[in-house]
């Protein structure tokens, strides 16, 4: 029982119990733990074994391996064609359109959502009603319908003009010149997005404690300052995860702009698919991978934004993956050092 005289290492050496030498367990059979020289308090607890976990792990690993094997070997996927299409200029052009539409609608939708949320919190009943109706309407109408109505908008209104309401107009726009496919697509997505963003922002504002509003009011902070510096930063903690959810939906929702003849990532894939019918599956895989890449980037950004707004809400800010890696590397090194000193 030599290892019990070694001072307990400051960390877990491995997740299995210190191995007892077979001779020791053979000579003193049953309660060797209590009769050892070291006091009970200095002994390491033998972790409980979980055979069920190991079996489940094995089953899942086999299934995953089978799936991966099928993915690679099934000729149906045509990985060669996938590789061919993946970074084609046509596809990248479509990707650019997707990014452009998604980014514009995300920003416009969020700004619109904040305005709508503030209108719903307003003391003016007309503003409240307008905001409520807008949200009700745009959450009720399918996005594709919104897009198609906007697409046909120029047939309904030939010109748009700025001027006195119901009176003479000063500036006239030719609708068909103004409403390019990109404008129609972005507008449709933004209108839709704003309705959802409004509710996300409102939920964030509601999540801020009433005492914060009172404290801000009692200090005499100007109204705009109260919202921008006191309420919004705290609301964002609740807003960010919900809005990122919304954003991911938006990124995928951009695939609908194909129907207003804007060639985004999905549009280009569809287009190429009808030109090269044999490549439909690899083309769909190309689109899948690009969408996965986009949402992954958003998720990474989300982590850091959430971390930023957790200041003060958590006693310690969670470590970034890089910091976690550094810590585990240091622990590994310490573990190795400890091992070498024990061996020598």
């Amino acid at each position: 029982m030599s290892e019990q005289s070694i001072p307990a290492p400051p960390f877990e050496v491995a997740d299995r119990p210190p191995s007892r030498t077979p001779s020791a367990s053979a000579t003193s059979d049953a309660p060797s733990d209590t009769r050892s020289d070291a006091p009970l308090s200095r002994q390491r607890v033998i972790p409980l074994r979980h055979p069920g976990r190991w079996i489940a792990t094995a089953v899942v690993l086999v299934l995953v391996a089978q799936f991966a094997h099928g993915l690679v070997t099934n000729p149906f996927y045509q990985w060669g064609r996938f590789q061919y299409w993946f970074a084609r200029p046509v596809i990248l052009q479509g990707l650019l359109v997707t990014l452009e539409v998604a980014a514009l609608s995300a920003v416009l939708g969020l700004v619109g959502g904040i305005v709508l949320a503030l209108m719903r919190q307003s003391r003016n009943p007309i503003l409240r009603a307008v905001s409520w109706t807008y949200i009700w309407l745009f959450r009720s109408v399918p996005l594709i319908v919104v897009l198609l109505v906007l697409y046909n908008f120029s047939a309904l209104y030939k010109t748009l003009s700025l001027g006195v309401p119901f009176g003479p107009g000063f500036v006239h726009f030719n609708e068909s010149a103004l409403a390019t496919d990109l404008v129609v697509a972005t507008l449709g997505l933004s209108l839709n997005e704003a309705a959802y963003a409004a509710e996300v922002v409102r939920s964030g504002i509601l999540s801020v404690d009433q005492g914060q509003h009172e404290a801000a009011a009692a200090l005499g902070l100007p109204r705009g300052y109260q919202f921008r510096r006191i309420v919004l930063p705290q609301a964002l903690r609740a807003i960010v995860p919900a809005y990122v959810n919304q954003l991911i939906g938006l990124i995928k929702g951009t695939s609908l702009v194909f129907y207003v003849s804007l060639l985004d990532l999905f549009g280009e894939v569809q287009n190429m698919g009808s030109t090269y019918p044999g490549d439909v599956v690899p083309l769909l895989l190309v689109a899948t991978v690009w969408y996965v890449v986009l949402t992954s980037v958003v998720s990474v950004v989300q982590f850091y934004v959430e971390r930023h707004y957790s200041r003060g809400a958590l006693r310690t800010v969670p470590p970034t993956p890089l910091q976690r890696l550094r810590v585990s590397l240091r622990q590994l090194r310490e573990r190795a050092d400890f091992g070498s000193t024990v061996n020598s």
Binding site: D209, Q212, A215, A217, L219, G220, Y225, I230, Y309, G312
Partner: protein, 262 residues
């Protein structure tokens, strides 16, 4: 702090006249008249639900009175005189009035996303009373004054309840108010932390600032108060010096309350 006592000799620090307030059918304030002189420490006692907090919150217009009016240093709060009538003030004017009145909450209500220093320095900058540098320097002085000089960069959640309340008091002081209102400042604290907060308030009592404190700390009232007010059912049943109200209460309700609290 209050070297600028440019008050007219007659203006009381706080005057409440005929204050009535209902929450629905529930009458919370039922004709309260209260006068607190500049530099005085007034302690408001009373059972829960007696209208203490509502009265205090009416003084800086966090609550609007249904009937009656409040003036601070002779200036009407939340309304202005228009001939024979009173007109409601705009939000901006009300916020400006509040900036001159400190308020300390039972639940501290520090801004959790700002450090202790930022909590204190925010308002003077936002209301244009100081530049950023001035406000931060003042904030450091105030933190030192409440014994938390080393906690400038701590976030409220990293502080104990007593420390948070001391930061909240420093935050109220940063606006250089002539009047500070305390709404049960120690009720949310562990018994062992009550002392440190009361010590800070006692320290202010000698400084010339007018203090109105809603509390259940009778010992504190006896030691520090110039005026003790006993409120029950939305009415002031008794007021006077600590010796009068605490040691020789006239009203049976006051006696009953004190016997339960002491």
């Amino acid at each position: 702090m209050t070297g600028t006592t440019t008050l007219t000799a007659t203006a009381a620090a706080v005057e409440v006249h005929g204050a009535h307030k209902w929450y629905g059918a529930n009458r919370v304030l039922d004709g309260v008249d209260l006068t607190v002189q500049p530099g005085q420490v007034a302690v408001i006692l009373g059972p829960s639900g007696s209208g203490k907090s509502t009265l205090l919150r009416a003084i800086n217009h966090l609550e609007q009175l249904d009937v009656g009016h409040v003036s601070v240093n002779g200036e009407l709060i939340g309304v202005r005189r228009h001939g024979e009538r009173l007109k409601e003030l705009g939000e901006r004017a009300i916020l400006a009035q509040r900036a001159g009145i400190g308020f300390v909450f039972q639940g501290f209500n520090l801004f959790p996303h700002l450090t202790a220093l930022e909590n204190i320095a925010a308002a003077p900058v936002a209301t244009g009373r100081a530049t950023r540098e001035e406000a931060r320097a003042t904030a450091r002085d105030l933190l030192e004054r409440v014994g938390l000089a080393d906690k400038a960069d701590a976030y409220p959640r990293q502080l104990s309840g007593g420390q948070q309340q001391r930061v909240a008091i420093a935050r109220a002081l940063a606006q250089k108010p002539g009047l500070i209102l305390f709404d049960e400042p120690t009720s949310a604290l562990d018994p062992e932390l009550v002392g440190e907060v009361l010590a800070v308030i006692k320290d202010l009592a000698g400084s010339g600032t007018t203090l109105i404190v809603v509390t259940h700390e009778i010992g504190f009232a006896r030691e520090v108060a110039d005026l003790v007010v006993f409120l029950d059912g939305g009415r002031i049943l008794e007021q006077g010096s600590p010796a009068e109200v605490l040691d020789n209460p006239q009203h049976p309700r006051t006696r009953e309350f004190l016997s339960r609290v002491l």
